[in-house]
Structures are given as structure tokens and as C-alpha cells.
């Protein structure tokens, strides 16, 4: 990050890493990789590497955090000290606290919280390597971890961002584009219910550009959803294969 590139999109219309404006970074997902957690998932979204582990539902401790009428989702987003070029202090920062809250709120609509009063679910999200768009990648992985823990859910949640670089709307910004670019719009989305659960924006966009960015982000979500679906099924596929043999 020493020298800033002047142009984010070159003459051929390609971005710094050779992507087209409406192209996603490669996404890889794996489910159930932490045997000690009730449910877990790992995502590689471009250069982002994020682990998510879920515990519960279990008795909520400390007791004063219990809610008599619903389940509580407790979420911790944390960046490892080695996740960014300059060492990050491992203590939770203001940004991490905020992201924890944002991720929790994005995931809550997918859960039947009213069915399990007085219980709690713990969700731990560990960013091992960050390169822009970690909140979106975290939500995608965390939703899988919750499903893997056996929690009833309305739908899986996928998240993806779109933004504006060099006066052009582009999908899935990476770190450099996010920092130099003009705007970033992360969207979390339930594909089967066609519902948005997270919508943020920083930077400046005209209403027209904003609409275009949301549309693009949702298209991106749908693409990631296919990968997410496949990842969840893969873990339970062994059983399906046995069936075919019968």
C-alpha cells in the first residue's frame, strides 16, 4: 500500500487484478471443518480467508443476557494480528465491535429466534487474512456455520458488495479499490425469499448509481449462493451417495 495506483480500471476496461467490472473474485467454501464446534465453515473469497464457528443453542451465560421470549445470537468478529499488512492489535477495536453487531443483525432474520426462548447461540468469526469485503464474506460463512450446527433457518444468507471505482459501478471491491474508490455498498440477501437483510453504503453515489450497485450486488449474491449451496451439500453428500448405490 505504499504507492497508490492512479487508474483502477485500465483502457481495456479491466480492473487491477484483471477482472471485468461485473466479475466476482474466486470463492471457495468448506463446511464442517472444526470438529470442536457444533457447526463451522471456512471461506476463501479472493484473498480473504475467514473461519466461522457456531456453538449452541445452549444455555445463555451470563444469565442476565437471556431473553425470556427468544434466543440470543452472540457474535464476535475478530481479525487476527497477521490478517493485514501492518500488525493489528488483537484487542477488539471499535470497527470490530461494530461489524460484530452488523453481522449479527444481518443473520438474525434467518433464524427462528422465538422458538427457543432463554437460549443462546455463539458465533465466532476469525479473519485470518483480509483483503476488502470481509463483512460480506463473514456473513456468507457464518450463515453456513449456523446451518451446519443444525439450527432451523428460513434461508441461507449470502452477502456481496458492489461499489464505484473510476466512475464505474463494479462488483466485489477488493481492499485497494475500496480505499481509493468512490463508494462501497455491501448487501446481504436471502435468495429464496428475495429479501435484503443488510444494506450499507459509504461514499457518494447518485440514486441511479445506487440502484445499479444494489442490482449488481444481488446478482453477485446469487452467484455466491450457488457455491454456498454446493458447499453445504458436499458435507452431507456421502449419505446421498450411499442412497444411490441401494
Amino acid at each position: 500500500m505504499n504507492e497508490k495506483p492512479k487508474k483502477l480500471i485500465n483502457k481495456k476496461g479491466l480492473r487491477l487484478d484483471g477482472r471485468k467490472p461485473d466479475e466476482l473474485r474466486p470463492v471457495k467454501l468448506k463446511v464442517g471443518i472444526l470438529p470442536n464446534a457444533d457447526g463451522s465453515a471456512y471461506i476463501e473469497h479472493g484473498k480473504n480467508k475467514i473461519l466461522a464457528g457456531a456453538f449452541g443453542p445452549r444455555e445463555m451465560h451470563p444469565k442476565h443476557l437471556q431473553r425470556a421470549d427468544r434466543m440470543v445470537l452472540r457474535c464476535r468478529y475478530h481479525m487476527a494480528p497477521f490478517s493485514v499488512p501492518e500488525r493489528k492489535s488483537p484487542a477488539p477495536s471499535r470497527r470490530e465491535n461494530e461489524l460484530s453487531k452488523v453481522i449479527r443483525d444481518a443473520l438474525l432474520p434467518s433464524l427462528f429466534v422465538e422458538n427457543y426462548p432463554r437460549t443462546g447461540v455463539d458465533l465466532y468469526i476469525e479473519v485470518l487474512q483480509a483483503d476488502g469485503g470481509t463483512r460480506c464474506a463473514s456473513i456468507t460463512a457464518a450463515s453456513l456455520a449456523l446451518a451446519d450446527a443444525g439450527l432451523p433457518m428460513r434461508d441461507l444468507i449470502v452477502a456481496c458488495a458492489a461499489g464505484k471505482v473510476d466512475n464505474k459501478i463494479a462488483l466485489d471491491l477488493m481492499d485497494t479499490e475500496d480505499k481509493i474508490g468512490a463508494a462501497d455498498v455491501p448487501v446481504a440477501y436471502m435468495p429464496n425469499l428475495n429479501a435484503v437483510t443488510l444494506l450499507q453504503m459509504d461514499g457518494k453515489l447518485s440514486p441511479k448509481e445506487f440502484d445499479e450497485a444494489i442490482k449488481m450486488a444481488i446478482e453477485g449474491c446469487k452467484k455466491i449462493y450457488d457455491i454456498q449451496k454446493e458447499a453445504l451439500k458436499t458435507k452431507y453428500k456421502i449419505i446421498e451417495q450411499e442412497e444411490v448405490e441401494e
Binding site: 457447526g39 443453542p57 453445504l232 452431507y236 442412497e243
Partner: protein, 236 residues
């Protein structure tokens, strides 16, 4: 009014299962006349009711369930019991002693202490109260011998089999007593450890292959083969 899945198809949360006049059964939910999946599992439809046999779930207490739990803590007038569910169960001293409990006469830790295993029944449970257990019925109470194993709670019905065919089968072949806790904990008591291990191997096999058909026959065969092997070893 179509359904959008084949029998025993693997579905994940959010999958659209059916539209129109269907009822939402286990692990599904209804919204705007559409039925969606709520858990990973295998979908099935009987009499317009759509069910999912979940591949992963946790135990949710229900009144009347027989469960196996571990005593967690000795309290003033009872015990707290871990029943492998989101809620911690309570066992009252007066229920165990079957007479009124007087703190000056009875020492609770002499009856049950932390770590003891008990077979119990869920006496009451609702949204506002933790499950309360009872041991006041024949067959319930402290476990003194046998071996314990854990399986996913959703697979207990498969171990029981149709009208109990699977479990009677294992009991007859191994000569073991088997108590299935609805919370996925199983107690196997036999005349010797070898019988118990055979029964446990059979149950493990059921858990691994719980979604295949013709399992009862294969388990019978498996038990016969294993028994033959043991006898061979004994003769040598």
C-alpha cells in the same frame, strides 16, 4: 399444486418444497402458501404433509420423553441434570426420595452426585420453565452398570425401527438390554462387555447408514457374522 422435490432428496434451509395446499411438518415452515425447508435433511411427503428428516439437529425436550442425563450439580432441594439440550433439566429431591424432603435428615449428595448418570422422564417443560425430570416410574433411576454411547438425536427413530423391529432384533441377537434416550444417549447393558460392544457396533452401523433402505436385514446379517467370528475365536 406441485411439490418441488423427489422422495428422500437432500434439501438445505431455504429450499422451496411445495406450493399450495400442503401442511408444514417437521423442520419446514410455511410462508405465503409456500413450504420451505428449515434444516439440512431428506424431504418426504405423506398425506399432503411435508416432513424433513434432519441430518443434524439438537435435542429439544418434550413432555413424556425418556432421556439419559448426567447429574451436573447438587443443589439445595434437588439436582441439575445435563440432558444434551439447550435447556438444563431439574430433578427434585422429593421426586427421587418419594417422600417429603427434609434438608436436616437427607444428604442429597449421598443419593446422587455430580457425574452420576440417570434414566429419567421429562415430567414438564414449556417456554417459561426448564424441563423437570421424574424417576418415579419402573425402569427409571440411577444407572449402575452398562455402557453409554451418543448418537445424533434425530437418528433414534431409525435405531428403534418400524414398530421396534430394529431394536428388538439387536436385543435378541446380543442378549443386551438397551435403553434409548430421546436425547441421543444410549445405554447398553449386557452379561459381558463383548455383547455390549457388539450391540454398540450395530448401533454405530445404523447411525452411519441410517438413510439406506433394507437396513434391518443388513443389521441382522452383520450381527450373525460378528457372532460367528467371536465364536470362532473362542474355539481356537
Amino acid at each position: 399444486m406441485p411439490t418441488f422435490f423427489e422422495k428422500k432428496q437432500l434439501v438445505i434451509p431455504g429450499d422451496l418444497l411445495a406450493e399450495g395446499e400442503y401442511f408444514a411438518g417437521d423442520n419446514t415452515y410455511k410462508e405465503k402458501n409456500k413450504i420451505f425447508a428449515a434444516r439440512i435433511g431428506l424431504a418426504d411427503c405423506t398425506n399432503k404433509k411435508i416432513n424433513i428428516v434432519a441430518l443434524k439437529a439438537f435435542y429439544f425436550p418434550q413432555m413424556g420423553d425418556v432421556i439419559i442425563g448426567t447429574v451436573k450439580q447438587v443443589g439445595f432441594s434437588g439436582w441439575t441434570v445435563n440432558i444434551k439440550s439447550p435447556y438444563i433439566a431439574i430433578l427434585r429431591a422429593s421426586d427421587v426420595l418419594s417422600r417429603s424432603f427434609k434438608p436436616q435428615n437427607d444428604e442429597l449428595s449421598q443419593v446422587l452426585t455430580a457425574g452420576d448418570l440417570i434414566v429419567a422422564k421429562v415430567a414438564s417443560f414449556d417456554r417459561y420453565h426448564d424441563p423437570q425430570l421424574t424417576v418415579g416410574e419402573p425402569g427409571l433411576g440411577k444407572i449402575t452398570r452398562g455402557q453409554i454411547m451418543n448418537i445424533t438425536p434425530t437418528k433414534i427413530p431409525r435405531v428403534i425401527g418400524r414398530k421396534g423391529s430394529m431394536i428388538t432384533n439387536i436385543k435378541n441377537e446380543t442378549g443386551c438390554q438397551i435403553i434409548l434416550g430421546k436425547n441421543g444417549v444410549i445405554l447398553v447393558t449386557g452379561k459381558n462387555p463383548k455383547d455390549e460392544e457388539l450391540a454398540m457396533a450395530a448401533i454405530n452401523k445404523i447411525e452411519e447408514e441410517s438413510h439406506t433402505s433394507g437396513l434391518t436385514d443388513r443389521i441382522t446379517q452383520f450381527l450373525k457374522e460378528e457372532k460367528a467370528k467371536i465364536e470362532e475365536n473362542n474355539n481356537e
